[in-house]
């Protein structure tokens, strides 16, 4: 049975970061690690073991797919989001926006850091 994007929500932090890194362009493993570190200002660092464990599952779920070998190094392989993957990241962002909106409605502005 074909699964919808909502079936994968909520995403684990590592998965969210990987999908966010791949949302912009195709990346190989080391590129994903660099992009995740950049997006989180170096606060969140993925090790290769964690990265490829998640990629293994994401490929199996059809959210990410291999996109061929890197021209500069045949050992590296690029990965990209599938249409399902794009739907998943979009659904997750929408879910997070709802969470943030609800938080702003119910929590005083001082606690959320807004003036």
């Amino acid at each position: 049975m074909k699964r919808s994007a909502d079936d994968f929500l909520p995403l684990a932090p590592a998965v969210l970061h990987i999908l966010l890194a791949l949302a912009g362009e195709e990346l190989h493993g080391y590129g994903i690690m660099q992009e995740v570190a950049r997006q989180s200002d170096g606060r969140y660092k993925l090790g290769p073991g964690t990265l490829y464990d998640n990629l293994q599952r994401l490929v199996k779920q059809g959210i990410v797919e291999p996109a061929g070998e890197a021209a500069e190094d045949s050992r590296r392989r690029y990965y990209r989001l599938t249409s399902l993957g794009r739907g998943v990241i979009a659904a997750e962002i929408s879910r997070l926006e709802t969470v943030v909106r609800e938080a702003r409605l119910h929590i005083p502005a001082t606690l959320t850091g807004r003036s």
Partner: protein, 368 residues
């Protein structure tokens, strides 16, 4: 060196994971390593040693928490026919888990050892053995009414064989004669070849007073309180040893006792009793017949000079009057002397004649 160690860690991962990502992980190791050499902070890990920690955690994760990917890899090996139906040959791609193979090996070794130990000590496990080691009459009885209707053509017999009166007598005789009861270790009333070989050891077990020899009493002789006459008792003890075929064979020097030397050579002596030469002593060979016993009793009474012969003078005595006709018939060579063998033969002929007459009378009375 560090890269080689990291490569070993990667190689320890499950094969599907290793095939898919090992090269990429090694490439990342090169990137992090070059960053470290250049003094730059790696985007992924601050040091190469962080990669080792990550690889060790990944190793645990892939083997323990991700079994579905290992099995999925085996499923990928399934060939699919043109009609998209899996082929039976697809099972060739299955590989047993190493843990299952190891468990099977251990279990096989344990079972093998258990069977080997059990076979070495069967007496400890007799109650667990399948089948019976001894025959029992109760096991042979069949009581089913259907058999009577169908008329079974198989006869199941238990107990002594018909037509072999020796076996029925042997049951009593072997009990009265401790020597035979001891020699017949398996209780089948036959002193087999191997029981003859073990005769010296068996006979030594009868030596209750531990004087190294067997007296007539230790061989089964007993008069109770019937006689206190020492001379009579002495003669009776010797007679007992002479009239029992097995004891007579063992007591080679005819002194009325089985000495230590005679016990040691008993295996050889007993072969003299094996009249049919089959290597075993059967009841008909070890039980004295009636004629032999009677002849010995007559000799004990009439052979006053104990020379083993009844002379004409001895047969003319008043005590010999009832036996005179028998002694005359027994003296076949008409030399006026009756030997023990002649008397035994005569008594045996008379017994046989008496038995035939009794059989004829019984048959005549049974006829309508």
């Amino acid at each position: 060196m560090r890269k080689r160690c990291y490569g070993w860690l990667i190689r320890l991962h499950p094969a599907p994971f290793r095939r898919q990502f090992a090269e990429e992980m090694l490439a990342i190791f090169d990137d992090v390593s070059s960053c470290e050499h250049a003094g730059k902070d790696s985007a992924a890990c601050k040091t190469v040693y962080g990669l080792f920690v990550d690889a060790a955690a990944s190793l645990f994760r892939q083997w323990v928490l991700r079994p579905e990917f290992r099995h999925a890899a085996a499923d990928e090996a399934v060939p699919v026919a043109a009609g998209h139906a899996p082929l039976f040959a697809s099972f060739d791609g299955y590989k047993m888990r190493p843990a299952a193979v190891l468990s099977g090996c251990l279990l096989s070794v344990v079972v093998l050892w258990a069977v080997a130990i059990a076979s070495l000590r069967p007496e400890k496990l007799s109650s667990w053995s399948i089948g019976m080691h001894t025959s029992r009459k109760s096991l042979l009885q069949v009581s089913r009414s259907s058999l009577a209707e169908t008329g079974p053509d198989t006869l199941i017999l238990s107990g002594p064989e018909p037509g072999n009166p020796w076996r029925s007598m042997a049951g009593v005789y072997f009990k009265l004669m401790p020597v035979l009861g001891t020699l017949d270790a398996d209780g089948d009333f036959v002193i087999s070849r191997w029981e003859i070989v073990g005769a010296p050891q068996a006979l030594r077990s009868l030596d209750r007073d531990h004087d190294g020899k067997l007296s007539p009493e230790e061989c089964g002789f007993g008069l109770g309180d019937r006689s206190r006459d020492p001379e009579f008792v002495s003669e009776a003890r010797k007679e007992f040893m002479r009239t029992q075929p097995v004891l007579a064979a063992l007591d080679t020097d005819r002194d009325g006792e089985i000495s230590a030397q005679e016990i040691s050579s008993s295996s050889h002596s007993l072969r003299a009793v094996d009249s049919n030469g089959d290597g075993a002593l059967t009841p008909d060979e070890v039980i004295p017949d009636r004629a032999t016993t009677q002849a010995a009793a007559i000799f004990r009474q009439l052979d006053t000079d104990r020379n083993g012969r009844i002379s004409s003078a001895e047969s003319e005595r008043s005590e010999a009057a009832p036996m005179r006709e028998i002694l005359r018939n027994a003296d076949r060579d008409r030399d006026g002397i009756t030997t023990l063998a002649e008397l035994t033969e005569e008594l045996r002929i008379r017994d046989e004649s008496r038995r035939q007459n009794a059989g004829a009378l019984k048959a005549a009375s049974a006829r309508p």
